[in-house]
Symmetry: C2
């Protein structure tokens, strides 16, 4: 590392769900929420804005969304303004860009915001838009979108490791239970016991409705500050101690094993090495559970359990409160919904609030010091990881 140290000093999310708002109204709403949540933040001190948004051109007929978001949030960036796009990991991509800008000296105080409006009057159009995440020329004609791809991962995992539908339901039950203590989650106050999950309609076999994250509208934002100006924010902080990313393939013909994600192994190793800790030092993790099977594969790729034992890991409660590591206390993508560009940023908000001790006790990790956030994108071909440490000073 050559640059300055960077901390998340606060954040906020809007209510996630089917929202009767436009893209720019969501940007305005998260701006107001952010300034309420971080009272030490003055608009004129924000020199840079990074907007994570996966496909507003298709979903909101709006490009050039970064200056639109700036205006709606009441921010006038004087150093860096841009949107970052990395499909379902667009949010964490915005945070990494903010991190690099601050570490390099280009920015002192930056906001990373994620906004996505996915529910349209015509959901057929929204679903069609989602198809453009895969390689259109080669994988598109074969019908490859996210649910059938992750269904193949699940089928293969069941074949190779005897993973069961009940174990996948255990992921979903856990994350929905956590979401019940998160009023901004899409599925707040909805209960999903395992027997109910196992009776829901099949989306792509073996994945049922409760195994799939949803089409969600929502926004989230965090404030990042350099070590040089962090004294402006006397409250708790989540210091960025490590980050890693790896891009493996795009065309599905080039994918290797469906059930081992070497890109996640590499990205996480790099982030943990940079932070100088091991995976056992983590107190909790926000993992990208776009589908229940994803979280199971991620336990294994991160080395939280042996290859093939992810199903048993969740079934035995080892990723729950009181287990080896708490995974997705926010409620995950399954419980909170998955507004693509907002997800990675909402995960960082959860890290900050867990460190600050401000989340409801039903999901509070006891005295957490280290957290890892993982976003994947596309057909799990790109993996992005951040490692955060709680602290007040640099």
């Amino acid at each position: 590392m050559n640059g300055r140290t960077v901390a998340v000093v606060g954040g906020a999310t809007t209510k996630f769900g089917v929202r009767a708002t436009t893209w720019s109204e969501l940007a305005q709403e998260i701006g107001a929420a952010l300034f309420r949540a971080v009272p030490d933040l003055r608009a004129r001190d924000v020199d840079s804005l990074f907007v994570g948004a996966a496909m507003p051109e298709r979903l909101a007929f709006q490009s050039h969304v970064a200056p639109l978001a700036a205006e709606q949030m009441g921010i006038r960036p004087t150093r860096v303004i841009q949107r970052t796009e990395l499909a379902c990991a667009s949010g964490q991509s915005a945070i990494r860009s903010a991190y690099a800008a601050i570490a390099s000296g280009l920015s002192d105080i930056a906001v990373a915001v994620g906004v996505e409006k996915m529910n349209l009057p015509s959901m057929a159009e929204a679903n069609t838009a989602m198809a453009c995440v895969m390689d259109r020329a080669w994988d598109g004609p074969a019908g490859a979108t996210a649910p059938p791809f992750f269904a193949m991962v699940a089928q293969r995992h069941m074949l190779e490791h005897r993973t069961t539908e009940e174990q996948m339901a255990a992921v979903s039950e856990k994350n929905h239970r956590f979401a019940n203590s998160n009023p901004n989650a899409q599925f707040y106050e909805k209960t999903f016991p395992r027997d109910k999950l196992l009776r829901l309609p099949v989306v792509a076999p073996p994945l049922r409705l409760g195994d799939c994250s949803s089409m969600t509208d929502g926004a989230a934002a965090v404030v990042l500050a350099s070590e040089d100006v962090v004294r402006q924010f006397p409250g708790p902080k989540a210091w960025i101690r490590g980050t890693g990313q790896y891009s493996d393939f795009h065309n599905l013909a080039h994918a290797g094993s469906l059930t081992e994600w070497p890109g996640l192994k590499r990205a996480a190793s790099e982030a943990l090495e940079m932070a100088r800790i091991g995976v056992r030092d983590l107190d909790f993790a926000e993992l990208h559970d776009c589908f229940s099977i994803s979280e199971i594969v991620e336990y294994e790729a991160l080395g939280l359990c042996a290859p093939g034992e992810g199903g048993r890991f969740v079934e035995d409660g080892r990723s729950d409160l009181g287990g080896d590591i708490v995974v997705n206390p926010r409620g995950g993508l399954l419980g909170c919904g998955h507004p693509l560009g907002a997800t990675g940023i909402a995960q960082a908000v959860e890290v900050f609030e867990q460190f600050a001790g401000t989340v409801p006790s039903a999901r509070q990790v006891p005295n957490p010091e280290w957290a890892l956030v993982h976003n994947l994108s596309g057909s799990a071909n790109v993996h992005s990881v951040m490692v955060y440490r709680r602290g007040r000073a640099a």
Copy 2:
């Protein structure tokens, strides 16, 4: 500045124009061209990829374009991969992101590539897509797209400063003349004398066809390296010495004067101050001539001439070879075409090749040391500036 120094060590462009290729074929083509142009570059040494693309979701029905481009180019990023979007300035946004990643220590050798495929079977669809750059809720219903907006700038400049259609034609004539020494330009081997330009059809009064940059397919890429690894590239270099960006407004109701671009003044001042030079030290500049009137306003905002005197500045040859400063020796957006995300990167390729002395003599700036690149986006509401210096060592 806290981070490491960064140099552009090579680059390439594809042929710009109406191309019978897909988006991903353009990515493949620029990958091949880049490795031919930079023989010291090994694919395995490229740790990061930044993709500038304005709206592939609409124009190519493809999102998640960064890993697609990586695969097509034969690059497997292990550090950072992302697309950056800032409408017409998406290319320079990718370069700034690469700069920040390298300066911060996240990356050592990065590629910034811009790809845009704008000519579709239905040009009505392409033109409709372009409309999503403006604020759709407020400016869209009023019919605001780029040509009518810049036509208002031209009308106002003519009213305030007696700028003439002949002076705007002088910009277009100069840039098309330079493009005639650039085989990759869309309008290579096409001559546009002023009397011909003044007879072309009107697009939005007073702007005629020759005053407007075109819908163009094309790609461009540069390689950026940190001072720590730059010895791998023994050839000429364009060192990034300054950069600035400013975001002013989005909704047109919040725009100030149409003929003064304070965002450009601020972004350029910041970049020049960081480089510790004045505007008179520049040998040439690549300015964002999306319309002929833009270049005239830019002369004034940069302080190359007094406010209101931009028309006379070009008419008197002061922005031509042998003048005060050479503006757009590459051929500009008017002569080369404007494949949105590729433009800012093609401008950087021109800087590198001018410094290397490898461009045809008809457009070679004599012994250049300093260059400025300017990209604007939207309704000239966001301005992005880079300052480069020629050199071999850091």
